[in-house]
């Protein structure tokens, strides 16, 4: 299997590290910034391409790691060429785009896998397994937090361009919207507040969202681009009819360094992480590779990606309009 990665930025490099742990070949990297593509290509002994179009003939699967607003066009292009697709989250920038991607991929008979990597983080997977085993009974009140600083990028910081990324609630909080839905089922209504809506000129964003699930469960989802770098915290709390489960990245930190600061050397894009023998991104890539190679159902479907997108967009709409938004 020959994989082609579109987008040679931070996430393209992260996926490449995962692909390198599979039997697949990384055939190439496509990026309009050819120098970035070349740099990754050199590292993985692959080819650099100026565009997806130029790379398409040389690959079996297209791994889309480009900015969110480009997912739709890239996926349609890959599907038209009959290539299976892995797409970073969020699946698309709008519901319509995501629906069209799903329909086109179905018609072209190609697979569309969406990379909600949080499902592959061992703490999140373990918590899901505990709930699925019935260890805490029926989930009743969920609390999910994912907080960091606003992503920096030396040039073209599409993260902070709402039209391109959807902002913090779409780019970051979608992880926990997906997770809440995975744990407690379909979401019926969404009510949200965030700094970006309350104070449009603030240099940070922070969102608090209340979800009501059709199962009766309720979720409190918190997302932040307001912490000082380099903080990245994640937390899970699930209160169930027969118990309680919690995870706190601060409390389970295996290593806590308290060093005199040299410089404010936070990474451009915050990433969570506990020391593990395998990166969750690699776990995800292996699962996707297996789904493609052996034609088995993927652990997360494009429909899951669409549902998470719907929740995130409902949260944005709620924060802007001041009303609860009902889904479907």
């Amino acid at each position: 299997m020959k994989a082609g990665i579109v987008g040679a930025g931070f996430m393209g490099g992260t996926h490449a590290a995962g692909w390198a742990e599979t039997e697949a070949t990384i055939a190439g990297f496509a990026d309009s910034d050819l120098a970035s593509a070349q740099s990754l290509a050199n590292r993985y002994k692959a080819k650099a391409y100026p565009s997806l179009e130029a790379m398409l003939n040389d690959v079996d699967v297209v791994d889309i790691c480009a900015p969110t607003h480009l997912h739709h066009a890239l996926a349609l292009q890959a599907a038209a060429a009959g290539k299976d697709i892995i797409c970073e989250k969020p699946l698309a920038r709008t519901v319509e785009d995501a629906q069209e991607m799903i329909a086109v991929c179905r018609d072209a008979n190609v697979k569309l896998l969406v990379a909600h990597v949080v499902r592959f983080f061992p703490e999140y997977a373990k918590a899901k397994a505990a709930v699925a085993e019935g260890q805490i009974g029926q989930p009743a009140v969920l609390r999910l937090t994912r907080g960091a600083f606003r992503p920096k990028k030396p040039v073209d910081n599409w993260f902070t361009d709402f039209e391109k990324s959807g902002g913090m609630m779409l780019d970051l909080m979608i992880h926990d919207f997906d997770y809440a839905r995975w744990i407690a089922g379909e979401v019926e209504s969404v009510f949200a507040k965030n700094i970006a809506s309350a104070h449009p000129n603030a240099p940070v964003d922070h969102g608090l969202v209340i979800l009501k699930h059709r199962s009766g469960a309720i979720s409190h989802v918190e997302g932040s681009w307001a912490y000082p770098p380099p903080i990245f915290r994640t937390r899970i709390e699930i209160a169930g009819s027969d118990g309680w489960l919690e995870f706190d990245s601060d409390k389970s930190a295996a290593i806590d360094l308290h060093l005199r600061q040299q410089q404010n050397d936070a990474p451009d894009v915050p990433l969570p992480g506990s020391p593990l023998s395998e990166s969750p991104y690699t776990t995800q890539l292996k699962a996707f590779y297996n789904a493609l190679l052996n034609n088995v159902p993927p652990p997360i479907t494009a429909q899951d990606g669409l549902a998470a997108l719907q929740i995130a967009l409902a949260a944005i709409e709620s924060a802007q309009r001041g009303k609860a938004i009902f889904i479907q």
């Binding site: 009140v141 009510f191 507040k193 700094i195 409190h220 000082p228 209160a239 009819s241 309680w244």
Partner: protein, 337 residues
């Protein structure tokens, strides 16, 4: 030394806090705890024996003793008659929270105390929590910069094991939402010096669904007049074998970053070989004690207490608005009337 001790009595032992208040009153300099009255004779006798306290045969008998102040610890829906009795007798009142189970009662209590010229204080002990007082000072100094939002939790165990009426909608006015919303609402109003203008809430009854008929899960979103938004988790979600009763936490997002507050972090962790769960003995300062000392000081100094009946009303209004929102599925504007 002054011998002019203030006489304080407790009206009703329905609320479990009454048990702690006895010790607090006995430990307050310049205060004489005169005893209590309880309409439940069996319960009254049991606690009179347990605490070696004088049990008055009726509320009237207690008020006839001419106390300076009374702590009203009846069920939420039964605060009003006792507060009105005390006010009529010219006795200052500290009422348990929530102030009442509806706004009409809350207003009547405020009016009765105003007319009688006695103090009406609402029992919001967290106003006297040492960690929260420090947060308040930090906020007032402007150390955190502009405040954007609060993510707060006041989770507890389902309290039926302590007092059955807590899960009785008639007597308590509701479940977890009524029990827990008012503390953080009051703290946030105090911190921000701003009133709540909108409330959104969702509730459910999945936890303890087979034992209680009131909501056990509740999430609220408050919007303040100054634009700050704050969520409250008011759920009775802590498992019954959790190492402590619950807790009160907040995370503040401001211009300068993130501030994490745990008002009940001041615990030891203690494991007993004979038990399968550990406990958290609390070593922090006793906020109940500080609250009662403020009640006593307000009586002595003939001034308004730091927490008033109006504060109790405002917090109750938010809890009631939350029920309306949970019913309608949309945010509710304040004031309610």
């Amino acid at each position: 030394m002054t011998t002019n001790k203030l006489k304080i009595g407790i009206m009703s032992f329905a609320h479990l806090h009454a048990e702690a208040y006895i010790g607090n009153l006995r430990g307050t300099p310049g205060v004489e705890f005169i005893g209590f009255a309880d309409e439940d004779a069996e319960r009254g006798q049991r606690f009179a024996k347990q605490f070696n306290a004088r049990l008055f045969p009726s509320y009237k008998a207690l008020l006839d003793e001419k106390p300076d102040g009374a702590l009203v610890c009846s069920e939420n829906a039964k605060h009003r008659p006792l507060v009105e009795m005390a006010a009529e007798a010219g006795v200052h009142v500290l009422s348990e929270k929530p102030l009442a189970s509806n706004l009409e009662d809350a207003q009547a209590m405020i009016d009765a105390c105003k007319q009688a010229g006695v103090i009406l204080m609402t029992a919001f002990p967290m106003r006297f929590s040492a960690p929260l007082l420090e947060v308040k000072a930090t906020l007032d100094e402007g150390k955190l910069g502009k405040i954007y939002s609060f993510n707060t939790t006041n989770q507890g165990k389902m309290p039926m094991a302590h007092r059955k009426w807590f899960v009785d909608k008639e007597l308590a006015g509701g479940g977890a939402l009524m029990d827990h919303t008012v503390h953080l609402t009051d703290i946030l109003r105090w911190f921000l010096q701003s009133d709540v203008v909108e409330v959104y809430a969702q509730t459910n009854r999945i936890l303890h669904a087979d034992t209680v008929n009131v909501e056990t899960g509740g999430l609220l979103m408050l919007t303040f007049a100054d634009g700050t938004f704050a969520s409250i988790d008011a759920s009775w979600s802590k498992p019954l074998n959790y190492p402590t009763w619950g807790g009160l936490k907040m995370e503040i997002i401001s211009e300068r970053g993130l501030s994490i507050v745990d008002a009940f972090s001041q615990n030891l962790t203690l494991y007993k070989q004979s038990q399968n769960s550990h406990v958290w003995p609390y070593w922090g300062s006793d906020a109940n004690q500080a609250m009662l000392e403020e009640f006593v000081a307000a009586i002595r100094e003939e001034r308004a207490p730091k927490v008033t009946g109006e504060d109790g009303y405002k917090a109750l209004e938010v809890a009631l608005a939350a029920y309306q929102s949970a019913e309608s599925g949309q945010p509710v504007k304040l004031p309610l009337r």
